[in-house]
Point group: D2
């Protein structure tokens, strides 16, 4: 039906909100139309920082993804994602018989739409080496002419150097990916160690899609590398994630940034102020996961008390989760409610025996190490 | 299965959150269990006041409702309603062959559960006179012994006086209800005028369930009576309201209160700081509807601009709705986006020609008179 | 608002479907109203028998439930349940200070509404003895005057005899219920054995709410007693079950009946043609579970084939689930798709190596014994 | 993450259903994964014919669509659409700087995936002439080498002839599309009349996306042309249609076919056995809409009766909708329920005064002419 510039039409529709106009002789039935709106993922500020929702790993038809670049901007807009990065493979272009390769071409095509829709678009690419060492994402590059397409082992270092030369922020992707494994296991590789020593590695993708790479979290913590979580989406977000269900969101990196800009994201990435968010879980450095928890969850004052048949006085509190995150708590120390599930935007009743200063809980929906949850104290 | 005190069990379950325990030889399949949580209806503070969600009109089996009183507390807890009042009919008890009448008996039975679940329970009753004059709710009563059961016209004034004597907050219910009408129309009645003159009438139920009583809004505004919206629920909330759909809520009164207490609610009702909320619509005094709008909706800074083919510079803004309310705007003055639908917890893009100080919109999802929407200025 | 006979209003509303009328001066906003409709739970006929959805265990305010009887009829109507039975406790009436007891009073009050709404209402009661032996439901009673209220052990046999005398269909409720247990375990009791020997026990409640009583299933199978599943609902169905989610249903007994009548249900119960359905699971005699599976699931003709790199020819089939049941299959024998999840009203692709006559699957979402799933052969 | 052939991976995932495997050191959190299943759109057979769900108008990145061809197959599979056709523009290729044009290239790329997923893929193209005369879809073509790319008026006839020469089934697209209009109105054009006379026009797209082209329906009926409804989707189906809501479906053509094959679809199209389905509405020849209604809706036997206070006997019936279609009925003749809404897979209660043979209803959710609904008789 439409013989106009695609991107323009899309962004216009978005701007207009609803389009219920009736042409002469054409009646519109808009009951089933998807309403245009940008969903807000509710997360309060953390210590004066905005919590930006970012996805730094995705593909389009320009390499092996299934969508035109504008779709990624639409998806981000609808889902309330603040920043995305197209990270097309440098070395791998299965659509090349049909689509002319170009690592920053997807950026170029989507740039205007992103600007109009207030989605931050960060130039990036995926350096897709053989395994090992595997794949690395390079963010904040500016030029795709000197990237190394030759994927022979001999060129691995040059390929990394090509993005280092552009002052990129570089992270190792999905270290536990099958192909990366040596005899069923994945390890911290000499190649990666060398990058790390030379300060050419800045972060690790601890969560890729639905997979939590457990060793990767510990490596990041031990070496003070930035914790990253991404979709690595090739298909539609809506085909991989069950977005129709309440509370479902794509995997992403929560970036605690000074403002909502690409520059502030870079600063935060370099300082490591991130938490990966996938499914109901949070992954990150203890300090950041704790800050996030405290920004989202608050315990009210006692509103009721009751004495039981053993003459013990119990106090009642409301524990509120003012965010779209999910927290599951299990009591570790003290006498009180054993298990609490804090669904997005909801509260639960917590009871505690009188005379205690606090209750200690393990937040089992968080990982501050591959084998450790955040522990918090609720002051009564 | 359960041979224990009903209320106790229910409140315990709520307190516990989830109950996934496995008895010996009994396997639990909890996939389809409704998760226990108190939903938070997100509305920011308005000028330092909390916005409490209140429903001051409902029935239980003690008169002509279909549920035991505890269900009303559960419903309120789940939906995030802060305060409710059982308003059993004084004069009408169709279940009396089976259920012993008692106007405050439902309060008595639910009181403990309400306390444990942090639901404010306000003593009330419905004075159900013949029509005209019809029905009146009396809140904050304390005794049901001297209420007037005789519903003859001759006793109408005494019936009101009986709740006036208890220092009740009194409002006229659903003035446009069919039975109240005289020849298809409803009017401001001499009986009501007398109550008003004698300061025995303090508010009007402008919305009852799904019905907006248009004249009632104007009467409330012209006489400075408090605007009230209630469910008047007899059945289950879930059977009347399509709660399964996102954004659906019961009809209620939003009370701008100094704190979350029955006392603060009374003070706010007396000062008339309320807005009725039903379906997608808000009803109230212009000042309060405006305050609510301004607390919920904010216009960001321009993030992009574009010059069109007529050489006009257009600026782009994001208009955010940080609440669970719904706002629909239509442009009245200025050059910008014509129509904007702000769904709960979402934002839209607004464009405006450069060089204007503001855009004027009619918020068509609000009523500040039966025939008038709130008009707001968005400062660019 | 309503001063008319409650039941009458409700049934009228249901009959009318939608009520969007506008009184003079009263505007209706019906967007959030729950649409009136009877949901159809789609299950094809099984060997010429209708599969009726039945719930034979529930309570109202007349004993320890939280709703007036009409609500149970509404719930059944909305959810597409064909038959229900109020089974008020004979011996336990915690609401008796407020509500006049009467074991068939709930039936009486709801009878007319049930008739108008085409819900089959079966007279029943719960004989609530101390534990052991525990509770028994008696269906198809006709008189509640001679039931035994005295719950002393000495009267246990007389209490059963009182319903035997009314020619009731009797089943043992939730045998694994905590209170029934002796030192953490529950057993086939001498009391029950005697009932069984004297042909006074006809079925066992194998599933009660969310709990699967594993031993009870084996007892039913070994003694040819009828397998029953019920809600034992006290609260609202919508508060216990997450009905807002697609595919969620209450626990029930699927009765394979000759027609849709109380008589046909009795005949089927006596013949044991039932399957209990709770969450995603089916529980019953192997024969009936198999019949149900075969009525619901069908394998299409091969529609595609492919030869892989080991020169093996693979054929493609579509496996369809024409019901609202859920089936999960795991391959036991043959070369084909290992795991198949058949969601309600959907199909999956099944692939099988060529040259096989059939594939054998375990339907792991069924229990034909406490430790055994149904096994089926898919003929290729 | 994936360095393999895209289409292969996708189809494998689909075949497997769920993929919950855990690599060493990688933990999978699949709670938010979209379950793989093919939804069945439930419509019973109509007079021995299968009702196939078809969408004959869509675009991919090869012209002005936003997705790689495989996405269209996935969408069809998930939604339960039986047959689709890529109809890339012959004359319009805005992506040509990046994507090598080729009208059947999208077919070629998706063919294998369609075969594996049992989606019928029909070769087609859109002949996109200037306006007037506008656009025409040609189905069942086999070669894209001789299509006419030159879109000058002079070549309009040759462009049509090029697809006529391939024995295509040709329909006129969205006749009321703005660009097609002459001074705000659209008319049956001489060009189209000539095509019709020469038997080169076989159908008309009466519904395109959310727009019902009213005149087009009458033209189709008056000239015995086949009624067609399509999405003309450029974006994702999930971005245009609110698929998360129950009952929402894309616009499509329901084809009553002898079997599920491309050949049977062609035969049915040539015989005109189609109904267009968009939002809650059906559009088509009276005979077909009636057949469809009768296949889906059935009136049960009277199950109850009641005499009112005017001594009139009323009988009760259940009206069942065994399909995923939606029907809204308004009483035209007789004494019975005035308005009935039959939601997908549900039933309603219908009451009728005794002594009548039938009730006549207008099915206002159908159009058998631009200004006429189907009228049906319900035999009592």
């Amino acid at each position: 039906m439409r013989i106009k510039e695609t991107l323009f039409i899309i962004s216009s529709l978005m701007t207009l909100g609803l389009t219920a106009q009736t042409d002469d002789g054409v009646q519109r039935f808009d009951e089933f139309r998807n309403p245009k709106k940008r969903n807000i993922i509710q997360i309060p500020e953390v210590k004066g920082m905005q919590v930006l929702k970012c996805d730094f790993h995705m593909h389009t038809v320009f390499t092996d993804g299934h969508v035109w670049p504008n779709v990624r901007v639409q998806e981000a807009w609808k889902e309330g994602v603040d920043a995305i990065s197209f990270t097309e493979h440098v070395e791998y272009t299965p659509h090349k018989d049909d689509v002319k390769p170009g690592n920053l071409r997807s950026y170029e095509l989507a740039e205007n739409m992103a600007k109009e829709n207030n989605v931050l678009l960060i130039k990036g690419t995926e350096v897709t080496r053989g395994t090992p060492p595997g794949h690395f994402n390079a963010l904040f590059i500016h030029d795709d002419h000197n990237l190394v397409v030759d994927n022979s082992v001999a060129m691995d270092e040059q390929a990394i150097q090509a993005v280092v030369d552009q002052n990129a922020f570089i992270f190792w992707n999905h270290p536990g990916w099958k192909a990366t494994q040596i005899e069923g296991s994945y390890e911290w590789l000499p190649f990666v160690e060398k990058m790390y020593q030379e300060k050419k590695l800045h972060g690790i993708e601890v969560v890729n899609g639905f997979g939590f790479h457990k060793k990767a979290l510990d490596w990041a913590l031990d070496r003070n590398l930035t914790v990253i979580g991404n979709t690595d989406i090739h298909n539609l977000i809506a085909h991989d994630y069950d977005l129709a269900r309440e509370g479902v969101h794509r995997t992403m990196t929560l970036v605690m940034a000074k403002d909502r800009s690409a520059e502030a994201i870079r600063e935060a990435l370099e300082q490591g102020r991130t938490v990966a968010w996938s499914s109901k879980y949070l992954f990150g450095k203890e300090e950041h996961v704790r800050d996030l928890f405290e920004a989202c969850v608050s315990l009210g004052k006692p509103y009721h008390h009751k004495t039981n048949n053993k003459n013990v006085l119990t106090k009642y509190y409301e524990l509120k989760n003012d965010s779209d995150l999910y927290f599951e708590l299990e009591l570790v120390e003290g006498e009180g409610t054993k298990k609490i599930v804090l669904y997005p935007g909801s509260s639960q009743i917590l009871t505690a025996e009188d005379g205690q200063k606090s209750l200690k809980y393990s937040v089992v929906s968080t990982y501050v190490r591959s084998d450790k949850h955040l522990t918090i104290d609720l002051t009564l």
